[in-house]
C-alpha cells in the first residue's frame, strides 16, 4: 500500500473503499429486487437497508419472513449471521477506543465487512496514525460504500424484477474480499489463521445460519495467536 503519498487518511480510505462498489451495487440492487418481490414497498425496503445496513442478515430475515417463520426465529437467525460484527467491534477497539463516544457510535453503525476489512489493514500498516486519523480513514472507506448500499437498494426496488443475469455477479463478493485479505497474509501466524479459517468454515458449513463462519473465526483466531506465541518463543531460544 502506498503510505508515502501526501494523501490525507480520509481520502486514502475513500480510495480503498471504492473497489467495493463492485460488490455493493449488485448486492444492493438484488436486495431491492428481492424485497419488492416479497411484497415490501419502496419505503419499507429502503428503511430496511438504512436501519439494519447488513446485506447478508437482511437477506436472511427476508427469506425467513417470506416462509412465515416466527418473529423470534427470524431475529435470532439474522443476528447470528451478524455476530461477526461483534468480533469486528472488538478488533477495532484498540485502535479507535479513545475517540469520543458519538464518533464511536457512528463508527459502530457503519461497521460492515468492507469498512472493517479496509480499516484494520490500514491501521496495521500505519501504526503512527492518531485516533483522529484512524477515524477519518474509517469514514473515508464508508463514504463510497454505505450511501451506495442505500442507493442501489432504492434502484433495485424501483426497477423490480428487471435484473441483469448471467454476469456471474455472485462472484464479486469472493473476489473483492480475497483481494483485500491476500496482502494482509504477511506473517506465518496470519497465514496459519487464514488457512484454519478456510478449513474450519468448510468443515462446519453444515451448521445453520452461517454459524460455521463463527466457529471458523474463533478457531482461526486461536490458531493465529498460538502460532504467534510459538514463534516468539522460538525467537527467544535462538
Amino acid at each position: 500500500m502506498p503510505s508515502s503519498h501526501p494523501r490525507t487518511p480520509y481520502w486514502q480510505g475513500f480510495r480503498d473503499g471504492l473497489p467495493f462498489l463492485l460488490v455493493i451495487a449488485p448486492f444492493g440492487l438484488l436486495f431491492g429486487v428481492v424485497a419488492t418481490e416479497a411484497g415490501l414497498s419502496v419505503f419499507e425496503t429502503l428503511t430496511f437497508s438504512v436501519v439494519v445496513i447488513a446485506g447478508a442478515a437482511q437477506f436472511t430475515a427476508l427469506q425467513l419472513m417470506s416462509e412465515h417463520a416466527p418473529t423470534a426465529i427470524v431475529l435470532a437467525s439474522a443476528l447470528a449471521v451478524n455476530l461477526r460484527m461483534a468480533m469486528y467491534s472488538a478488533s477495532l477497539t484498540p485502535h479507535i477506543g479513545a475517540a469520543p463516544l458519538w464518533k464511536r457510535a457512528v463508527i459502530a453503525y457503519f461497521t460492515v465487512d468492507q469498512s472493517y476489512a479496509c480499516s484494520i489493514v490500514a491501521y496495521e500498516e500505519n501504526p503512527s496514525w492518531s485516533v483522529a486519523q484512524k477515524t477519518a480513514y474509517f469514514m473515508g472507506t464508508v463514504t463510497p460504500i454505505c450511501p451506495m448500499w442505500y442507493g442501489f437498494t432504492l434502484v433495485g426496488s424501483l426497477i423490480g424484477s428487471a435484473m441483469p443475469s448471467g454476469l456471474a455477479l455472485d462472484f464479486a463478493i469472493p473476489i473483492t474480499f480475497l483481494a483485500i485479505i491476500a496482502p494482509a497474509l504477511k506473517t506465518p501466524a496470519h497465514r496459519a489463521a487464514a488457512l484454519a479459517s478456510v478449513l474450519l468454515s468448510l468443515a462446519f458449513s453444515f451448521l445453520p445460519y452461517n454459524l460455521g463462519v463463527l466457529v471458523a473465526g474463533l478457531g482461526a483466531m486461536m490458531t493465529g495467536a498460538q502460532v504467534e506465541l510459538w514463534q516468539d518463543r522460538r525467537k527467544e531460544d535462538l
Binding site: 480503498d16 473497489p19 463492485l22 411484497g39 415490501l40 419499507e44 430496511f48 436501519v51 439494519v52 445496513i53 447488513a54 442478515a57 419472513m65 417470506s66 431475529l75 439474522a78 461477526r84 460484527m85 461483534a86 468480533m87 467491534s89 472488538a90 478488533s91 477497539t93 479507535i96 477506543g97 463516544l101 463508527i107 459502530a108 453503525y109 461497521t111 465487512d113 476489512a117 456471474a168 455477479l169 455472485d170 462472484f171 469472493p174 474480499f177 480475497l178 483481494a179 485479505i181 491476500a182 496482502p183 494482509a184 496470519h190 497465514r191 487464514a194 479459517s197 468454515s201 458449513s205 460455521g212 471458523a216 473465526g217 482461526a220 483466531m221 490458531t223 493465529g224 495467536a225 506465541l229
Partner: protein, 110 residues
C-alpha cells in the same frame, strides 16, 4: 409474496436494527479506551484473516451463482485473485486479474 405481516415486518426491521447496532457497539462503545488484556489483543490481531476467508471459502467451493455446484472458473478466479494480491500487495490488480480470469474461463469453458 403477499403475506409478510406488516407488524412482523416492522418489528423485525426495528429490532434487527437495534440488535445489529448493539453487536457493532458492544466493544467499540462500551470498552472504549480501557486496556484489554494481552491474550485478548493477541487473538483480536487475527480477526480479519480469521473471519473473512471463512466467509468466502464456501462461496468459492459451492458458488451461489451455480446453485451451489462446484465451478472450475470460479475456483481458478479465486486462486488467481489470492495469488496476485499476495504477490503484488495491490488490491485493484488482484480484483482485475481475478475478474479477467473468471470471464475468460467462463467464455472458454461455457
Amino acid at each position: 409474496m403477499e403475506g409478510i405481516d406488516r407488524t412482523t415486518l416492522w418489528t423485525v426491521i426495528i429490532l434487527l436494527g437495534l440488535g445489529s447496532f448493539g453487536l457493532r457497539f458492544v466493544f467499540t462503545g462500551l470498552v472504549g479506551d480501557r486496556v484489554m488484556p494481552e491474550w485478548l489483543l493477541r487473538h483480536l490481531r487475527y480477526t480479519a484473516v480469521a473471519v473473512l476467508p471463512g466467509l468466502v471459502a464456501p462461496l468459492v467451493i459451492w458458488p451461489t451463482g451455480t446453485g451451489g455446484n462446484f465451478d472450475l472458473p470460479r475456483l481458478v478466479a479465486a486462486l488467481v485473485t489470492l495469488g496476485v494480491g499476495y504477490a503484488t500487495k495491490n488490491v485493484l490488480a488482484a480484483i482485475g486479474s481475478g475478474a479477467a480470469s473468471l470471464y475468460a474461463l467462463l467464455y472458454l469453458l461455457g
